[in-house]
């Protein structure tokens, strides 16, 4: 596929667009963009984007598969929905960004060591593990994602906040031993597994 990127034959053909429409959450909206750029200007993290949403949509239409899926742009989304409410074509841009990120992640094309990507994975695993998010474990997992030493450093750096939270009874150090969980955790996990199975089958994910 990547070879095609440089070949006029495939450029501006709809192959990648169709792939996005089929596999990316809300991907069927990409064709509706009219390139006004309001999303690009509305993003609070816009200045950090390599590509703006509207530009990503144009790249998809131009068949730039590799560049799009390897972009770290969609990982900058803070889910603030500014773009969504301003888009004159009602594109669910936030969701398309999530969808593209997810798709790139599942295909293994998303940038390695992308911090948001890693956080998102840890978050989901944390969630599936207990059915509810365990904030302490989530935090620790994050601090230690780059290894033990870095983790201790990270944790120390944020120690005052953590202690404050504990004092304010808004962080429970005992959660490390269990914490909130679902009674029917098994059922919950079965739902997640089944949903994932259905989705993976549809999208052709193998991992």
């Amino acid at each position: 596929m990547s070879d095609h990127n440089n070949q006029a034959v495939a450029r501006y053909r709809n192959d990648f667009l169709k792939e996005v429409e089929e596999h990316v959450e809300e991907g069927e909206w990409v064709k509706m963009c009219m390139q006004c750029g309001v999303c690009a200007g509305s993003c609070p993290l816009g200045a950090h984007w390599e590509h703006t949403p509207q530009k990503l949509f144009m790249m998809i239409r131009a068949g730039k598969r590799e560049e799009v899926l390897r972009s770290d742009a969609m990982w900058m989304c803070t889910s603030c929905y500014n773009c969504v409410v301003r888009c004159p074509r009602h594109l669910p841009i936030t969701h398309i960004m999530h969808g593209l990120a997810s798709y790139a992640h599942r295909l293994g094309l998303a940038p390695k060591n992308q911090p948001t990507r890693e956080f998102a994975k840890i978050f989901w695993d944390n969630l599936v593990n207990k059915g509810r998010v365990n904030e302490l474990k989530l935090t620790l997992a994050l601090y230690f994602k780059d290894g033990l030493v870095q983790g201790i450093k990270n944790a120390l750096a944020m120690q005052s906040i953590g202690l404050g939270m504990v004092k304010a009874k808004r962080l429970n150090p005992m959660e490390i031993f269990g914490g909130h969980g679902l009674r029917d955790l098994k059922g919950f996990q079965a739902i997640v597994a089944k949903a994932r199975e259905i989705e993976d089958k549809k999208k052709g994910y193998t991992n």
Partner: protein
């Protein structure tokens, strides 16, 4: 006024000893005054939050939300689901809208739910606590139980993102929603209506992964509150509350600012105004103490 009953979806952050546990405390206190009965959806699960997308994908996220709906429909029939957390409300409401408008998604979701013997019937409504307050009570009703006016305290109403977009509350504008200001005034406080960061994103979703970027957002939010003469920030969102409050010290450390702006939930203000104690209002849970409110509870 007759007792109102709702299926309550507190969300992960509002559990005991979680980051927004004081939100829960104050909501309970507020509801007691307003004679509202909140019954937790039995065995509710996490909404997946927006950050769940990367690993979670679409169907698993929708399915876990649908699990909550199905539980509510089964155990608390006829009651609206009320969420206090912006992310929970948004995640749930978005899931519901997609399910109700997409028969394929509905079929797949119910197939997944069947794995736990559940079924979603598309009967339940999803609402935010603020919607309940405004629509089911209205400002006039909310004013009635006020015992201690918040007079003399200036609040910047910080609405944030997800309580405001894409759905919003009370037909208010996305750029300049006024319901927090109206609520503050209802309680006798002073709303800083020129506050211009009302709907700025706090960067919460990236607080962990992109700290500099999100802290830049927080700095703007706090700075503007100071600039416009606010003494406290009030918000409806636990993620906003936590981020904006928690990271002030971090920003002070890195950038030499002297931020010390209390960040409160609307429910805390109401609990105080309704005569609650510091504990009832969850004020003991503040990292940055809201001394002026503490003082009012002592009156």
């Amino acid at each position: 006024m007759a007792k109102k009953e709702y299926a309550f979806y507190p969300g992960c952050s509002s559990q005991l000893k979680a980051s927004a546990s004081n939100y829960l405390t104050s909501v309970n206190s507020m509801c007691k005054t307003l004679d509202v009965k909140l019954t937790e959806i039995p065995d509710w699960n996490c909404c997946g939050a927006s950050i769940g997308y990367a690993e979670g994908g679409e169907l698993p996220r929708v399915a876990i939300n649908a699990r909550n709906f199905a539980l509510a429909e089964t155990h608390l029939p006829g009651q609206d689901i009320v969420a206090t957390c912006a992310a929970c409300w948004l995640g749930a409401r978005e899931s519901k809208e997609r399910l109700d408008n997409n028969s394929v998604l509905m079929r797949d979701t119910n197939e997944a739910l069947a794995a736990a013997g559940l079924h979603y019937k598309a009967e339940v409504n999803i609402r935010h606590m603020v919607e309940v307050l405004i629509e089911d009570f209205g400002f006039d009703e909310l004013k009635k139980p006020v015992k201690k006016s918040l007079e003399g305290v200036k609040f910047a109403g910080y609405v944030g993102c997800q309580t405001n977009r894409p759905f919003g509350i009370d037909g208010e504008s996305f750029e300049n929603p006024k319901y927090l200001d109206k609520l503050v005034e209802t309680l006798g406080g002073e709303a800083v209506d020129s506050y211009d960061q009302k709907v700025t994103c706090c960067g919460g979703a990236l607080a962990f992964s992109e700290p500099e970027k999100s802290q830049k957002q927080i700095r703007d939010i706090v700075e503007s509150a100071y600039d416009h003469g606010a003494e406290m920030i009030v918000t409806p969102c636990p993620l906003c509350q936590a981020n904006v409050e928690v990271y002030q010290s971090e920003i002070n450390k890195k950038q030499g600012t002297k931020f010390n702006m209390p960040v409160l939930y609307y429910s805390q203000l109401m609990a105080v105004a309704y005569g609650g104690s510091m504990k009832d209002a969850g004020l003991d849970g503040q990292l940055i103490r809201a001394e002026k409110l503490n003082a009012i509870t002592q009156k």
